[in-house]
Symmetry: D3
Subunit: 68 residues, 6 copies
């Protein structure tokens, strides 16, 4: 499936930590780490695990901008 | 202000494009480009412009994971 | 790409209306219509148009529940 | 209360699964199932349970579009 | 309709500004002003206008926390 | 860091409740209480606790409007 979300950041999974229903997945995208909070069901369905390649996918309207 | 959002990706603004009320801001974070859709008011208040340093800030619950 | 978003509702596009930077896309999913607000860039990249098949894709944490 | 969210998909709850603080609610909307992640507090306050009628409510800016 | 969104902040609309497809609605909730970005369609359907009472409705998973 | 999010509601934390991976933080903003769902990691990093001053930070595109 091709998706409208503007942001598809390619990287490698560095950690998958499951809670009761919710999992935290950390993806290294070129030196910076992105944390995704997704369902445990998604982790299982996609077979996510540390070391695998993955994309952090983010809708553009969910991105804010910060400055120092 | 320190903020709870897990993801603060450091980069450089490569484009700011204003619409009627909404702006698209593109930030290069180490070779990959993140697009943010924010208000024109925010662009003005933060003085965002191409060439400036900025962070793409994303709440972890807004990040999805994709695999090929 | 396979994506973690739990909700992928299959349907047919019934309307694409572009604004200055933002488009409204309406998808009929079995009699009920879902409205998506996405960028004009996404509309162009995916070639979205009325009559085409498409999915409304929604992260589970963005769905609320209402009762009468 | 009438709400601005464009998408109010009418259906029937098929599953409510509570975690420590967060619940997963599945609603069948005409053959397709929508998963909502909401707080346990909301489940209790609205009295959500399998078999009850409910709406999946989604802000239009949280809907993405996918194509095969 | 009763909705699962945890946050329903009661106030008074102080400004409605329409763009091409998207509107900015400002609601004063006890001295602090909340800005909502919604569709023009929602503004028309709900009859929103300055001076009217309204709620700012926000899903708890969309709220971040900041400290000085 | 200065952030583009339009809504920064100043208040005082009245409750922090941690789950397995996710925490619920309640902030009183002038008599109305806002609930934020954030990661336990954020609670620890920012040192959030009942009685402390804090802001509820919300992107304008995540705010809906309701009327009675």
């Amino acid at each position: 499936m091709k998706i409208s979300a503007r942001n598809r950041l390619k990287g490698k999974i560095v950690e998958v930590k499951k809670g009761t229903t919710t999992a935290h997945v950390k993806i290294d995208i070129g030196g910076q780490v992105v944390t995704a909070v997704i369902t445990n069901d998604s982790v299982d369905e996609l077979g996510l695990a540390a070391g695998k390649s993955a994309y952090a996918v983010i809708k553009a309207s969910d991105v804010m901008v910060g400055v120092d």
